[in-house]
């Protein structure tokens, strides 16, 4: 049952990601991206990571994509004409590196016997404390430093954006 859901949602996510690239209008691309993010959130739910799934929906599918769609509407990119980029060398490099990456992935996954490594969040912990409590305990004890560093980084990003926006006036 879960496998069926996983295959459907994963499949839709992959197709949606492809359509992000191939869609004609910019807004449609953005919307396919929303669908892709949403489907990845469903995959998270199937992996028992509800918290992550909800954050995926709120932050990526909600806030960030909303900003992108807002920008698209503001700039009024209704029907963007596809420009033909003449540089053939970039195409060759792109396709070439894609093939190399794909081959590497194939070699690694075929050559080694891949076994999953269990993380610190176990079924037993979740059953006794609940998912949220387990995650927040790890976040505010073992991983406190990375958590704080990331928040400082994000604050710096916001301040930088404000400075850049102010300078233009």
């Amino acid at each position: 049952m879960e496998l069926v859901f996983l295959l459907i949602c994963g499949g839709v996510a992959v197709i949606a990601s492809l359509l992000v690239i191939f869609a004609r209008s910019t807004l449609h691309s953005a919307l396919w991206m929303v669908l892709s993010f949403f489907m990845i959130a469903v995959v998270y739910v199937l992996l028992q990571a509800q918290f992550l799934a909800m954050l995926q929906v709120i932050v990526y599918a909600g806030a960030i994509m909303m900003f992108i769609i807002y920008a698209i509407m503001m700039l009024n990119l209704r029907q963007e004409s596809r420009q033909k980029t003449g540089a053939r060398i970039s195409k060759i490099i792109g396709v070439g590196s894609l093939i190399v990456l794909f081959l590497e992935l194939m070699l690694v996954s075929l050559g080694n016997n891949l076994t999953p490594i269990p993380g610190p969040v176990s079924e037993k912990l979740v059953a006794t404390y609940g998912r949220m409590a387990v995650i927040s305990n790890f976040l505010f004890s073992d991983y406190l430093l990375p958590f704080e560093v990331v928040s400082i980084l994000l604050t710096a990003g916001v301040v930088g954006a404000v400075v850049l926006a102010k300078r233009e006036r």
């Binding site: 209008s25 807004l27 449609h28 919307l31 929303v34 949403f38 509800q50 918290f51 909800m54 954050l55 929906v57 709120i58 599918a61 909600g62 806030a63 909303m66 900003f67 769609i69 807002y70 509407m73 503001m74 609940g130 998912r131 949220m132």
Partner: protein, 328 residues
């Protein structure tokens, strides 16, 4: 297993039917209350004091002509109302109508699901619902629609942050993200007493999120001729309309859950209290609509970012200090 599934399906059907009936009749409440506030009668032709008006409106909606503008983005134009109503109805899943009851020997919980991350679910799905209005405005290929959609997007992003901050303070005093635990933590003392500032903040931001009157920028009739749904007709318009009232019901239910003690109350039992409080909040929504004029757009944005957001952060800080000092 079969018994469990049957109970679940019956519960879902009952919950959605009751909620959608409330949604239909909140349009009646709105028209009636607005009418009496303005010294009119409101609808009273169809049924006793217009009680069948929502049903008549629904039937009328089905028989109206469907129009799709020539320069509309057709798939998006059809998809937008669906997103709107689907997200609004999905929110009913987490509404806690009451505690456990025993019916015919089965212990039944009066809520559909107790999500571990219920609060986040509310925030996430309501953002997804906001796409409906924005895409509806954009795809109809009408300048008023586009401006309504743009305003909707900006307003949603701005006020959702402050709303999340208000909810975080509630989560801090309750110690859980599950709506059921939040209600249970309010036995004896309601959160409106513990968190009066968060209550005010949540009401203001919630009204902005459900696009009600001091904040109904996306569809300001006077300047945008109805805004994002200007090109919609027939059932597609009715879906937007239903989504709006569904949001109002969910918002009222959430205010009840977060601040007014959910199903707790003396003498009469749980669900009655829940619906009583919810209807009071719905009445409040209508009342304030007839009281306040619409704000100007730049006022709304600067109010959201410069007053509500710092206010919400300060409230969280004070709540944290309070909890440390009094060791709660």
């Amino acid at each position: 297993m079969l018994e469990y599934m049957t109970i679940l399906i019956i519960k879902a059907l009952v919950a959605f039917t009751v909620s959608l009936l409330i949604v239909a009749y909140s349009t009646w409440i709105e028209r009636k209350v607005l009418g009496h506030v303005q010294l009119r009668h409101g609808p009273r032709r169809v049924g006793f004091h217009g009680l069948l008006q929502p049903i008549a409106d629904g039937i009328k909606g089905f028989f109206k002509e469907e129009l799709v503008p020539d320069n509309a983005d057709k798939p998006l134009f059809l998809l937008a109302p669906v997103i709107s109503i689907a997200a609004a109805v999905a929110l009913i899943v987490i509404v806690p109508f009451g505690d456990k009851v025993t019916i015919m020997g089965h212990e039944i919980t009066l809520y559909l699901t107790d999500l571990d991350v219920g609060v986040l679910f509310v925030l996430g799905i309501s953002t997804i619902g906001a796409y409906g209005g924005i895409l509806g405005g954009w795809s109809s290929g009408n300048k008023y629609g586009v401006i309504g959609g743009l305003r909707g997007a900006a307003q949603m992003i701005s006020y959702e942050l402050s709303m999340a901050l208000a909810v975080i303070a509630v989560v801090m005093v309750s110690g859980s993200l599950s709506l059921i635990d939040i209600v249970n933590a309010q036995t004896g003392l309601w959160n409106i007493v513990k968190q009066p500032f968060a209550f005010v903040l949540f009401i203001i931001c919630g009204l902005a999120e459900i696009n009600r009157t001091p904040f109904d920028m996306p569809e300001a009739e006077a300047e945008l001729a109805c805004g994002f749904n200007v090109e919609y007709s027939s059932m597609k318009f009715a879906l937007f309309f239903m989504a709006e009232y569904c949001h109002m019901f969910v918002f009222s239910a959430l205010v009840t859950t977060f601040f007014l003690g959910g199903w707790h109350g003396p003498i009469i039992d749980g669900p009655h209290w829940f619906f009583l409080k919810t209807f009071l909040v719905i009445f409040f929504c209508v009342w304030e609509r007839s009281t306040f004029p619409r704000l100007r757009y730049d006022q709304i944005m600067s109010f959201g970012w410069k007053i509500l957001l710092p206010f919400g952060l300060l409230n969280i800080l004070l709540t944290g200090l309070w909890m440390i000092v009094f060791n709660m």
